[in-house]
Amino acid sequence: MSLEFLNAFKFMKKESFLHNLDPRAKLVLALTYTISALLFNQIIPLLIIFLSLIPLVIFGKILKQWIKSIRGLSFLVLFIIILNTLFLSLSFAIAMIFRICIMVSAFSIFFLTVDPNDLALSLISMKFPYEFAFSFSLAFRFVPTIANEAQNIIDAQQSRGYEMQKKGFINQIKNLFPLLIPLIICSIKRAFNVAEALESRAFGSKKERSYYYTIKFSLKDWIFTIYLILILIIFIFIKIQFSVMPDWLVWRLPV
């Protein structure tokens, strides 16, 4: 058992036009695409939206991880196809798959290119309290540590004859105790250690906090945001005027 799949959303430092954007601009990106995807339920417009993401992914140098995150959806895709074709139509099913892919891509682009440090800063700049933003970034920081710990616990229990597969729902739940209890206890101990270290470094000092890092919404962020908003306006226009759109836009599968 491995926890590899988490990597599909893990930030990696890279030099690219996407990485250099302000996190807020990228949040606008994620939201614009999510809203656009929700506007339509026909194949062609959703396909166009989906395709328009691909150059971003390529220029952002995150193609590999993005493909991984899409591949992670395969089970869900199968589920949607079966359900929708049974109850609605294949065309609708395919459209829905594109919709899901767009939304997941938009957020995977966000998480893959936003430095979690900056994430906390952008939360603060959006008037979230510091403690909230900090605990958010702390959670990010400890994902790999806790994943590692979980793996160690699984290994330790398996080494004393514990078997993962058990039949029956109740048994499965019961069978999780030997893993969950040590994980919870270790996490509590860890939380104490972390808190102790934080206290020792003046966390919660009464003085006004200063910020060594700052994020800046620069010209390129403005240009990118305006571009995104324009796209959104065009999509909304198309949506409203859909009745007068050319036939190819509303094309459906013949089935």
Partner: protein, 292 residues
Amino acid sequence: MITIYISKDLPLIIIENVDYVYPNGTVALKNINLNVHKGEMLGIMGKNGAGKTTLIRTLNGLIRPTSGDIYINNENTNSKSIAELSKNIGLIFQNPSHQLFANSVEDEINFSLKNLYLNKEELQIKTNEILKKFNLDKYRDRSPLNLSGGESKKLAIASIICRAPEILVFDEPTLGQDAREIESFIKLINTEKEKGKTIIIITHNIEFAFEFIPRTILMESGEIIADGPTQNVLNNNFLTERSSLILPQTRQLSLALQKIGFQDINKAVSKNDIIEYLINFLRNKTTSVQEE
């Protein structure tokens, strides 16, 4: 001098050309070849990240080699499940809190025994026996979470030894322990050794390895770079430097003594050899002074 136990039988553990590459492409083990005989005690040393814990995880199938084979008791481990392999190989991990979860010390032992499918009576007898052996019977009903660090380490070891595996593998058993705890650990492995158990110990504790483990392998970047009598391996400046260890203090001292004219001190290997050498030297000196 320490002689390695060499048997004419086939080794109990045979590791042949084992490689392990992580899914992300990192090479963790490279062309590992290792034989361990029944009843042997083997140390594994090397810096953090050298592949020591990956190597021991291949023994009970937690990690399956990317290529190469591991035989235990002449059987390829390839086709066997972790549960099957763990009956024979007991891995004892560094941190006891990674495995203690039951309501009581007794239940903790029962959990380990449960997977051996004993009947109720046998289970009771075995549990009593092991709790007594480890001096844990007074804590029988106590929650494992309320034990001290040393006691919970003992319980973790007991929870593996109660399954009576033929091979015991320890990951850093002396980490953060004081002399008393190390002494009681040594006592424990000596009794297991007397029973004919094969023991493998990963350790950073140079002096401990130097005095108590007859044979050691050194690992570096996933490879075994040395395999031999511990005192030869650790006294080799070139090897210890390559694997980021430091020379044992005995060796540092005898080298320094040699420099100031104690010529034949390099014959002294262990702490006791040096003591004996110095006692002899000082006694002879006082008698020669008296003669004058």
